[in-house]
Amino acid sequence: MLSIYINGAGCISPQETAAGGPMLANLREYEQVKLATVDPDYKQWIDVKQIRRMSRVVKMGVGAANLSLQAAGIAMPDAIVTGTAYGCLDDTGVFLTKMVNQQEEMLTPTAFIQSTHNTVGGQIALLLGCNAYNNTFVHRGFSFENALLDTIMMLREGSAQQILVGGLDELTPHSYQILSRFGLYKKEPVKTMELLNSPTCGTIAGEGAAFFTLGVQPGTNTAAELTGISTLYKPMWEGEVIGHIMKFLEDNNYTPNDIDLLVTGRNGDIGQDEIYEEVVEALFPEHPEASFKHLCGEYPTAVGFGMWLANGILADQAVPEAAMFYGQAPRRIKKILLYNHHQGTHHSLVLLSHVE
């Protein structure tokens, strides 16, 4: 089967991931229940006349996309695919608030125009002058995964050689308030480096954007091959997840013993992390495990941060200390299985292999 390579990756997150240099070298530790991105100077990519209409999530997306393209040495991708669950929430909030406050009178167009989910993909295309395929997937906890699937299918059918694909979501005061009502987040601030051992329900809210330039040929700096991806929606019980992982590995001609490092989406919610315990116990009892949501917070496309981390681990052949959850990473890391779930309903697997 045609190999697909991660030729460039870019990430804007609550860590200093846009700054370059060694991964997570300057760890940002927080003691709060919501994490915001560490924003780079977006004016390095966006003209000051255009930036004024862009909300944070649009800037995040454009920034991460540019970082990814720069890393891949690509000026113009053959397609742009994005995944976002919440889209441009801030502009949606602005628009709706004005509708209510002004009783649907004298509404300005900017916030409405910028509030759609595909604004980010559109803005990246406008800035690049890219008239190629442009699609946005809005599938809750599978938004990024389905963007990846679309990208993989396009690359395999040969209709594109290099595709820019990314996942992103923002957190706004409105969304935090609404999501808090569902009991998603912890009631008290928690130290992020202690989150994964938290004995209580709820997690910390996060946000971010992660983009990747995927291609059918490796570049000079390529470290990882995207070997496989699979999703599982609303499993009935733990056994279904375990069976799905086994089948996924078999389909890729692997067994659990072939996996050098497990990267999980543990988020410190004692109820939601139980499934990771079950999976580890059943399939990966002695495997080293890294995690990432204590670094970026929980959001529907957080798996993008996980994939960015896994790609960086394969490039560095080392796991940042802050990301290590259990055991010790082997000296050579050839295969990483990324297992994440969002809200217990959206389970996904991403398999990455090291490119020598």
Partner: protein
């Protein structure tokens, strides 16, 4: 008129979220669109709403737009003319 033009500059900067632009840097007779401040058609809609919100003025004939929104001075003159007519 001077005070009105000063107010308009502040309101435009706020409404259009113009970054790195100060009221002092906008000339009274400088074109607002294209070569001047570089505003575009979306900004024109924002300016129409600005006139409604701050001055309770509706533009009856859209074809007058380019003339009214040519510069800060032309906007101020239009506002004064409308307010005088109402009085």
């Amino acid at each position: 008129m001077e005070q009105l033009m000063a107010d308009l500059k502040k309101q435009i900067i706020e409404q259009l979220n113009l970054q790195e632009v100060t009221p002092e840097s906008i000339g009274n007779d400088e074109p607002l669109f294209k070569e001047g401040l570089g505003l575009d058609s979306i900004d024109a809609l924002e300016l129409i709403v600005l006139l409604q919100q701050h001055y309770n003025i509706r533009i009856a004939n859209p074809e007058q737009g380019p003339e009214i929104f040519y510069s800060i001075r032309s906007m101020a003159e239009f506002i004064v003319a409308q307010q005088t007519a109402k009085a």
